[in-house]
């Protein structure tokens, strides 16, 4: 099929336009509601809503370390996937069963295997257990 498209940085101009329009929509809505809506302050009204009880202390507390570990495991996989995208585009253009294709497949298998080792380790260590 023929593809007629713009090239270069100019093709990103519509993305800039839509970001401007979306920002304008959000800002307009927030400004409008703060102008139109009523406003009243109060000591009790300002409390955090915690099911009707007076809040005890601040919410800025230490939290479960699992969230950190999960985020780090996520980073490993996310970076791996980003590396796989250009590989996928190139690999699908190679001739099937050619030595070059085998080399590409073998290298990426090794790359995935390294992160699978990390994945199995994390699983054994109970990173994915939340009970």
């Amino acid at each position: 099929m023929t593809i007629l498209a713009l090239d270069g940085i100019i093709s990103y101009l519509p993305v800039g336009v839509i970001i401007l329009m979306a920002t304008a929509f959000i800002v307009a809505n927030l400004v409008l509601t703060s102008i139109i809506g009523p406003s009243a302050q109060g000591a009790v009204k300002g409390l955090a809503y915690e099911s009707g009880m007076d809040p005890i202390g601040s919410a800025r507390k230490r939290f479960n370390v699992r969230f950190y570990i999960l985020a780090m495991t996520f980073l490993v996989f996310d970076v791996e996937i980003i590396f796989l995208y250009p590989w996928a585009v190139t690999f699908s253009k190679l001739d099937p069963r050619s030595p070059e294709s085998a080399l590409f497949l073998g290298r990426i298998m090794f790359f995935i295997a390294t992160s699978v080792v990390a994945y199995v380790y994390a699983w054994k260590k109970g990173v994915f257990r939340w009970d």
């Binding site: 023929t2 498209a5 509601t33 955090a48």
Partner: protein, 419 residues
């Protein structure tokens, strides 16, 4: 006299498409909230909203007006800057995502351009109906789609409310977890299409079968991740009202709350457009390859193509709503296990299957590979390590879990817990 080149015409047309579609989708968002209320009413044998206007059709307008007129309250003790920014940070990625999705093929507007008197002689003006036809469209979509996690986590943290904080943390963990299977199942599509340009992905499905037919496993994983990314039930862990009051938007009111709400529906619509493009072949009518709607055509062909895309998106959104009112909510540990111990291995396996099939040159037998994947998964499943029952039963005296002599249920429990 000024004459426009095809590139300039395409640029102006793209900006017009974006301006029109943004408004269409904002309206669609408002009315999908209405649709959801009507659908849930239908599924629960109620009537649903029917008072405002004929058949309740003006209900979204009334809702919007009410949100505008309510007090935009900032509680004491919040982080003011982040508290104000968070609704925008979640709404902005939701709104700009659809810019790279093609909604119709190439349409011929030579007549219109010459009517305006800016046409060059002997030039055919063909434009594609897509906001920004950039050649990394798929990467843009997945990058923008995952930016929503900032709004959710910051909104929860800035509120200085324990429920919001927990909701924001949970939503953040959920959204980053489900990004990985989403990216991996997307990788299978990229391997099949050989491109990350949306137009090329659709073109491949117009010539051949839909990707849904070739990779049903990846499609199911992708749709599930789409629900999780937009925080829809059964993955609305962030806002589960039975545990966390309102989750990360407990402290929000008025239009800021409405933005959180709108963003959820906008995410769903963008996700449906994404799914239509990747798996349902855009405006393709024939799932098996062969005859199909053409890529190029006159303006009315563009309208037909847009109609096909829009009806596919409508069905996907309605399906997500039906899921919401059918399935109960996951527990948080189940949610995490589904992502990390279920969907990531499966989507990795599917991706490896696709790359092996491509290496062997079996491009037309991907469906057989997908069936093979399902069979292998079911064969492996019984040998996987089972997790212990995470329900911590409390042995209250007199209850059926109490270790009293002669109480068979209690004895069974003590055996199970000691063994």
């Amino acid at each position: 006299m000024f004459t426009a080149t095809p590139d300039q015409v395409q640029l102006v047309f793209s900006i017009i498409v974006i301006a029109v579609l943004l408004h269409v989708f904002l309206g669609a968002c408002a009315y999908s909230i209405m649709l959801e209320r009507k659908l849930s009413a239908w599924m629960q044998d109620r009537v649903g909203p029917n008072r405002v206007g004929p058949k309740g059709l003006f209900q979204p307008l009334a809702d919007g007006l009410k949100f505008l007129l309510k007090e935009d309250y900032t509680p004491l003790g919040v982080d003011k800057a982040l508290f104000t920014m968070a609704p925008g940070l979640i709404m902005l990625p939701a709104m700009i995502g659809f810019a790279v999705v093609p909604f119709a093929g190439l349409i011929d507007i030579t007549g219109l351009v010459s009517l305006l008197g800016i046409a060059q002689a002997n030039t055919i003006y063909q434009v594609s109906v897509v906001g920004a036809d950039i050649n990394i469209g798929v990467v843009y979509l997945i990058a923008v789609g995952s930016l929503g996690v900032f709004g959710v986590t910051l909104g929860g943290w800035a509120s200085n409310n324990k429920w919001s904080f927990l909701g924001g943390l949970r939503a953040g963990a959920q959204m980053i977890s489900y990004e990985i299977p989403m990216g991996l199942s997307l990788l299978a599509i990229i391997l099949i299409s050989g491109s990350i340009r949306p137009m090329t992905i659709i073109g491949g499905q117009l010539d051949g079968a839909w990707n849904l037919m070739q990779l049903p496993v990846a499609a199911v994983i992708f749709y599930t991740c789409m629900l999780a990314e937009s925080n829809r039930a059964p993955f609305d862990m962030a806002e589960c009202e039975s545990e966390l009051v309102g989750g990360y938007h407990t402290e929000y009111s008025s239009m800021r709350f409405a933005l959180f709400f709108l963003a959820e529906y906008f995410h769903m619509i963008t996700g449906a457009a994404f799914f239509t493009m990747l798996f349902l072949g855009g405006w393709s009518l024939n799932p098996f390859g062969g005859w199909d709607l053409p890529v190029e055509g006159a303006w009315w062909m563009g309208l037909i193509q847009f109609g096909v895309v829009a009806s596919k998106m409508f069905l996907l959104v309605a399906f997500a709503m039906a899921i919401r009112w059918t399935l109960p909510r996951f527990r948080f540990d189940q949610l995490m296990r589904l992502a990390w111990e279920g969907m990531i291995p499966v989507s990795l396996f599917v991706m490896l299957m696709v790359s092996f099939f491509l290496f062997m040159g079996w491009n037309d037998y991907m469906w057989a590979g997908s069936l093979g994947c399902i069979v292998v998964i079911y064969l492996i499943l019984p040998f996987m390590p089972q997790q212990s029952d995470p329900n911590h039963r409390i042995r209250l005296i007199g209850s059926r879990f109490s270790p009293v002599e002669g109480d068979s249920a209690g004895e069974q429990f003590s055996k199970a817990s000691s063994g």
